[in-house]
Symmetry: C2
Subunit: 152 residues, 2 copies
């Protein structure tokens, strides 16, 4: 399936929202949740995670809330996803650095590890800022799907 969890989605949406409102010092979890109609308490936990990973700065109390810890250009989608869903590996057997113990003959994961890196690279190349500028940059001379090339 290869799909993001809803939490990661929510996290990206929230950061995008924060990036779009740089004028306000901080936005509460509830503000953002209401803006998108997502469960406030769930979003709160997500934002707490992002704070713990240094992507956001939080402030309790009245007029408190969350703000980007860095420029939107300096926060990649990869960081967000990684902070929320943890490290991802395309092969289900890969856990940390060790190969799969269960099926020692799993020779598939070595080539897929490279795919993994490629995907991670793509995600790293996308910043929150990119998401915020959702005015699509129009198909400026690009082929079918962005630029894809993999030196396998």
């Amino acid at each position: 399936m290869l799909k993001l969890t809803k939490k990661a989605d929510y996290g990206l949406m929230a950061l995008k929202y924060l990036a779009e409102h740089p004028e306000t010092a901080a936005l509460s979890a509830k503000d953002v949740a209401d803006a998108y109609g997502i469960p406030a308490q769930l979003l709160a936990k997500i934002l707490q995670l992002l704070t713990k990973h240094g992507l956001l700065r939080s402030h309790a109390g009245m007029n408190g809330g969350y703000a980007l810890a860095r420029d939107a250009r300096e926060i990649s989608a990869y960081e967000v996803i990684h902070a929320i869903d943890g490290p991802f590996f395309i092969t289900s057997c890969t856990k940390g650095t060790k190969s799969c113990e269960l099926t020692p003959s799993c020779t598939i994961k070595e080539p897929l590890a490279r795919v993994n890196e490629t995907i991670a690279g793509v995600l790293k190349s996308i910043s929150i800022q990119d998401l915020a500028e959702h005015e699509q940059p129009a198909a400026r001379a690009r082929d079918s799907h962005g630029l894809v090339a993999l030196t396998l």
Copy 2:
């Protein structure tokens, strides 16, 4: 998480195994399952799926089994994953062509749809043959992670 299901892993492993044994006319699900120590009945169902999607040809009876329906070079990892896990979308809200009804304000998915295409493109560029030749082609003048570029 962004990870393949075990089924998809098994499917890729099985196809790779078939690609590595072109001399035999057909291999039974049990043969392949034993080779990798994976549940035979589960693998059988996976191979049936792949057959239904035209990636394998099956033959019942003694000395029956499965064989690649095409040259290993002509079967992409994308097809395998797609056949087993169904269409994948990186954003959890994307269902078919319709936008997410739940959160109509989900503006995140448009940029991510492009990431999705990129990933699909990478997966399409990898053939079963590539997996079978797991002698790594050595880092032949490649930067950090294959070639990554995305015209967002």
